[in-house]
Point group: C2
Chain length 350, copies 2
């Protein structure tokens, strides 16, 4: 089969790899219908992490080809959405809702890699969720979004305790930040402030529910947010970048007693204890336990109550993965959907 390998920063290739097979009775092998490039894939692409021949891709929807003897909840032919972390969904950490730290957890990145034609998914019952039937083609981008960016933005909003009547600042205008805006809207937030200086992303943010746009960053951005919140700061901040600047902006934008939900993969961040202490905010975040939210998110998408798939502004063939990485790296694209050539159906143009 064909699959994406990152040899070194900036060097993305689509190459032949062995077809995956069932190795354990809890495995499933799925045919990937759509995958995509994640903002977090740009960290190794830009050299912040060492890729070293890494099998890329952790977002995916697909059709089950084959299952092991112990798999009960998905069957060949099912259309499935999976999380970017393999989870058994039965351990005490999973049952508490933290499947992304399952005691048997495996990150799909690296070991599996779903920017490919097929993938072996361990702990299929605990990782995959079948849709109610075969989806219309125009639902595929939204279902794919649920696999990571929607689930992650949703977790960030949940971690930030977004709720009816509250004010929310969203730091980060990538796909996850935009999904955070959508989640905040769904959760009933009254004021949703998207921080972005890119007109196309401002428009998308407004479409997803942003009530205010703040273009300023750093201290000026924080001052602007205070202006919009009676000088107090927001109830909830969603951090979707992972840098020192964005974390501090989130913390400083939040009122005492408020909540920061952070999901940007942390790079070179050191949080100053004294400022955290006197800030009196709540901090919660990390790799999103997407599996917790998948059943509800699939239902919202299936019923066409949300349309997160709008976050994909380009569709390419899996064979063009290098161009997809490049478009996201340069921020020409918000998020690129990849379809294996064999299944390169027409995705609704957006």
């Amino acid at each position: 089969m064909r699959g994406v390998i990152m040899h070194e920063p900036g060097d993305v290739r689509v190459e032949e790899r062995p077809d995956p097979t069932i190795e354990a009775p809890t495995d499933a092998v799925i045919r990937i219908v759509a995958a995509c490039v994640c903002g977090s894939d740009l960290w190794p692409y830009r050299g912040a992490d060492a890729p070293d021949q890494q099998l890329m891709g952790h977002e995916y929807v697909g059709i089950v080809e084959e299952v092991g003897d112990e798999v009960r909840t998905v069957a060949p032919g099912d259309f499935v959405v999976g999380s970017f972390v393999i989870s058994d969904n039965t351990c005490p950490i999973c049952t508490a809702g933290y499947q992304s730290r399952c005691v048997n957890g495996i990150f799909v990145d690296g070991g599996i890699g779903t920017q490919a034609e097929f993938a072996r998914i361990p702990h299929a019952d605990g990782t995959l969720v079948a849709t109610p039937g075969q989806p219309d083609d125009d639902l595929i981008p939204s279902l794919l979004a649920a696999s990571d960016v929607l689930g992650t933005g949703w977790f960030a909003a949940d971690a930030a305790e977004v709720g009816p009547g509250k004010s929310v600042a969203v730091i980060g205008d990538g796909a996850v930040g935009l999904m955070g805006v959508l989640a905040a809207k769904q959760m009933g937030a009254e004021t949703i402030i998207a921080m972005t200086r890119h007109v196309d992303r401002q428009n998308l943010a407004r479409e997803f529910g942003a009530t205010h746009i703040v273009e300023e960053r750093g201290d000026e951005g924080v001052a602007k947010i205070r202006e919009l919140t009676d000088g107090l700061g927001v109830h909830s901040a969603i951090e979707a970048v992972g840098s020192q600047e964005s974390m501090m902006q989130a913390i400083r934008s939040t009122r005492p007693g408020g909540h920061v939900g952070y999901v940007g993969v942390s790079h070179d961040v050191e949080l100053p204890g004294g400022e955290l202490f006197f800030g009196l905010v709540h901090l919660h975040g990390g790799p999103a336990p997407v599996r917790r939210f998948l059943p509800d998110l699939i239902e919202l998408i299936w019923n066409r109550e949300i349309d997160p798939g709008k976050v994909f502004d380009q569709t390419m063939s899996l064979d063009d993965a290098a161009a997809a990485y490049s478009a996201m790296d340069s921020r020409e694209a918000v998020k690129v959907l990849l379809r294996p050539r064999s299944l390169h159906l027409s995705v609704q143009e957006r």
Copy 2:
């Protein structure tokens, strides 16, 4: 009147200061019945903060002498307990339960100083809570504890979302840590692990409700906690020191999805973003909004359901404040209660 001034690290003196008077219509002047030395007073005492003629003391119980025209909820003659931060208790931050960051907040330390015979308490209605009547003398240490260490330990347990059936690790064996043990017991925790290597503090921790003692620190301490929690870590950690080591011990002892409540005044702490991110814990803490908890804590004490006053193991005259600081600095005393000479009644010996 007489009051404690710290001239420089290690130099604590009791000196004459002007008697406080009503300056604003929301003020009260109280006669201090008991005050004490706080673990946080040891930071400037040891030179970690610059005291510079600081008026010391922020824990207090007393009798109202005089009130301004707008004070409604306390009257001359009332016995009152106050928080270590002045709060109006009406601003949006206060009404959300974060009175320690009241928009009109003032730290009692520095500007007021309750290691003294009298104190002017601004925003008396929002800061002070009257007891149901004049307390028996043996209740005074417990009521004084409510003013900070009990309220702070309680907030830490609340921030760590301690609850029935949960496991809790308490890092820090000072008065606040011990109060965290008491709070965890009251909140129904099943496993309460006190981390201390001092036999007298171990005994006090057990008396307050600790089910396990861990003497190890650092990585070994974390390993021990994992052993006691099926390898997962605790649901809740209470951090009551404020150092890098204790914060990391709290974070590393907590399972993914668990909660760290931190109340040790942060000194030279830098939290590594990557470890926080993948740890997936909740972090919340800072200066405790004691005022939120005071009414309930006073009721528990008044009904003799809790006896936090046991945390005071020495009582001295206010005039002996220097000896009190020294006893706490050397850890001979867990916590020293100070009584102005004029009110140096017999406190039940413990």
